[in-house]
Symmetry: C2
Subunit: 504 residues, 2 copies
């Protein structure tokens, strides 16, 4: 019975004159935010849009992204946040697949203009749309089970799919977040991760509903992020491990006053213990937490609280315990819960589970079974409900009949002082079926590291069959998807060329 | 998509061996609590109960009450918690009106036995029912919109009504509570207020879902409560103002170690500033919060955080701001929102609003209009959403055409050092229609206070027409309802005998 109109209405009631958004030198109060959202919806209706119509946005983080993200669904329309790292053909696919009638963007639309009826360019054009429209009442005629957003995701494999998230899905996730990571009126949230990812909903809806302040960062840069933290007294932020690593490095080299920070969260991919340790050192006032989930889960499945105290504990390798309101099980191939400690597939149920994939009934039926979302991730749970991921199901390497979880190998590589980034995957091998292979990006000053040294380092720490049989040294960063996941398929592809299996 | 089975399942997963309940010298882990709930449902099914059947409980706070409160709905049945302060005819009415098939009780049922098919007496009988049953799977076949409980309330006026609360209602309220008053695994909650009141759901569901510990107090006694706080390191508790006043007095006279307390909440009726101040003095480590709501709201509408800092601020008289997820409006007779500062009726909407009154469509239609609950309470909101109650609509006194809000007059009386308790209401007056009248219970040592002195004290502080025209001094406590509200109808009745109006 709640929709996106409720957080806006609530914040408008309790904090009309408080700063809702800081975007560069611009400030918007909650009264202004609510008014601008209502005008945006009015403007879109003026363009002919009706309930349920899709509105895409392709833009850097900023006030207009937040207005679109919250206002469009509050007005009964559906927001389609596009991944700005995607190539034009991928973006065009998302626009056409979703049937978006309007594209709101901060860049020249190019060929994308042909995929929609209207392009609204941020700046003068967008402002004119708002100025010319009389604000409408948000929330009227909108139901909790209406679609709020379509989030295009390919994960790191396969073709892009539109994940259908309802008002209820994203609001349930907001409660899941706030009950474990409470936010307050005096919190200042740095929106550092790109808003086109569903993880943005944690901070966006949570911050508005608790009438806090959001500071937007248009493009991630560790120095700029730290400057904003110091300038605005940021208390909370959330990012992928690579962002946190960069923040910690920058802070340890060029220290800003970040004592306002009380929570730094990370998710999207596993964090190396060394990175966690550096974050603890760099941000001594902040608690560190890990989130795990998927776009299909709006996005949270588990949260690991109190990582600072756990950093030398085996549970630092856990991605946490199920959110309050969501159920997480580890199951065998038949969907039976396996005993603690046993590896299986992670399945999740609760009010945060997506309605399905847009226009993809077959893929929906594969992912959703009896209301449970089958994540494709492999893991185990300990006796107190801590979930440990061992790998994405599709990233498991089978060599000589033995299963190798690539994260375990990467973890060992990350412990070597010369290693900045590491990705492990299987390559074809006549004898073993697959062989363990690694690509390593060395730290500055270690460019001449000998792969054999690293292989020996691994063999000293894990079973020989798990250690890489070959390592490529790469002097540029690993290729990554929008949310910062390493695109192993790109690294893997050259090895599998001409093979008919395992090329995702 | 959540039901009462979820908190039990979650706590069982993450904290199986942790103490869930401390009841006297008994301890129950979460594994035991989940098992006992599952056996209770099995036992009730063995008695022939089927989905949706009602199970009443009449008992002091204790582990069996908690098991019944949570387990019965988790098993698809409906719990009917009876007010142990009600007289046998009232209890029998609730049993027959609800159609309860089973009564679980800790006392000889007397004539109540005739109103149900089965009486299960706590102790041997109840334990045998559990021991003989094989635990069933909780939650199977239970939907979030199923009825979870029927809570009989007459408020302080009118005939008793069964308030229908669904799983979703009470779970929404749990989120409303936890987002503003976070609970954690290491919290210990003292269940001091009687569990038959819907306010119990805050602590019960909130504590189980966060895997904290509940300590039950069978009958309120300030010394016993403080002993439990000291013995078990209680961190949170919730009660009516009269309970808090007694706790503070006892603590200031006979100090226990209550430094574990971090939150003391109160609600059910307005708190006198003096009582608040004494609580702050008595419990220096605790934050004080106020809750306002109604059984019909599962029960929260607003929460006032941080009262310690507000004690000398006008906002200490507020009952707080709307919960996150609920909407509160102050409206005129036509349901239009009135401007800030203007008095109107308080109406509330959101997922916590009851489904209706059991078998009372007319009264349901009066209380619920367009999904909003009309509380019957009068109040105003300030510009930041703080709600100030001025009176229950039915307690307003109209004298010489002027409206007098009895709480305002009571507030003045409470400021006099001789006043322990005060209740103000209208009595028939030939000239003015109604006259303002008060009943005052003096503090020890002030039994001989002159009513004229108190009247003069009021006239010096508020308009003459608001000051009582008569004051009765009473040497026993004011009569109170189960949740601790002063029963003004009992005080008022003798004055209105033979009159045909305003005798509630």
């Amino acid at each position: 019975m709640n929709t996106f109109a409720d957080p806006l209405r609530h914040a408008r009631l309790v904090a009309a004159d408080k700063i809702a958004i800081i975007d560069g030198e611009s400030r918007f109060t909650y009264a202004q935010l609510a008014d601008r959202c209502a005008r945006l919806v009015a403007g879109l209706r003026g363009l002919g849009l009706r309930k349920g119509d899709r509105v895409a946005i392709l833009a850097a983080n900023g006030h207009a992204f937040l207005e679109t993200y919250v206002g469009v669904p509050a007005g009964g329309l559906v927001v389609v946040p596009l991944n700005s790292r995607h190539a034009p053909p991928e973006l065009e696919y998302a626009l056409r697949d979703s049937g978006s009638r309007v594209l709101i963007t901060d860049r020249p639309p190019g060929t994308l203009a042909g995929a929609v009826e209207h392009v609204v360019v941020l700046g003068e054009h967008y402002e004119a749309l708002l100025a010319e429209s009389e604000p409408v009442a948000l929330g009227a005629g909108v139901a909790e089970d209406d679609l709020a957003g379509l989030f295009y995701t390919g994960g790191t494999t396969g073709a892009s799919k539109g994940v259908m998230l309802t008002h209820r899905n994203l609001i349930a996730n907001t409660y899941h977040w706030l009950t474990l990571v409470p936010q307050h009126e005096n919190d200042v949230f740095l929106v550092a991760a790109p808003l086109f990812h569903a993880a943005g909903s944690n901070s966006v809806l949570g911050t508005i509903w608790t009438a806090g302040t959001q500071v937007t960062l248009p493009a991630f840069d560790p120095g700029a992020a730290l400057d904003l933290i110091a300038r605005h007294g940021v208390t909370e932020t959330l990012g992928v491990p690579t962002m946190l690593a960069a923040l910690a490095n920058e802070q340890l080299e060029r220290t800003r006053d970040t004592r306002s920070l009380r929570m730094v969260g990370h998710g999207g991919s596993p964090i190396a213990t060394e990175v966690l340790r550096r974050c603890c050192d760099a941000f001594p006032t902040a608690e560190l937490i890990e989130v795990y989930g998927a776009t299909e889960l709006s996005p949270l499945a588990t949260i690991l609280l109190g990582e600072r105290a756990l950093v030398d504990h085996p549970r630092a390798r856990s991605c946490g315990r199920p959110v309050i309101g969501g159920q997480v099980r580890v199951v065998d191939l038949d969907g039976r819960t396996v005993p603690p400690g046993e590896v299986g597939e992670v399945v999740v149920s609760g009010p945060q589970v997506m309605r399905g994939y847009w226009n993809k009934p077959d893929q929906t039926a594969k992912a959703l079974r009896n209301g449970e979302y089958w994540s494709g991730d492999l893991g185990y749970m300990d006796v107190e409900g801590y979930l440990f991921l061992v790998d994405r199901a599709k990233d498991m390497i089978i060599t000589g009949g033995e299963n190798v979880y690539s994260t375990e190998v990467e973890d060992v590589l990350y412990r070597h002082p010369a290693v900045l980034e590491a990705a492990v995957f299987g390559v074809p091998d006549d004898r073993w079926g697959e062989a363990v292979h690694a690509v390593v990006v060395p730290r500055a000053g270690h460019e001449d590291i000998d792969p054999e040294v690293l292989i020996e380092f691994c063999r000293e720490r894990i079973a020989h069959y798990k250690a890489p049989r070959g390592i490529d040294i790469r002097l540029e960063p690993l290729p990554k998807s929008g949310p910062g996941k390493v695109l192993k398929r790109e690294l893997r592809a050259p090895f599998w060329k001409g093979q008919d299996r395992n090329v995702h």
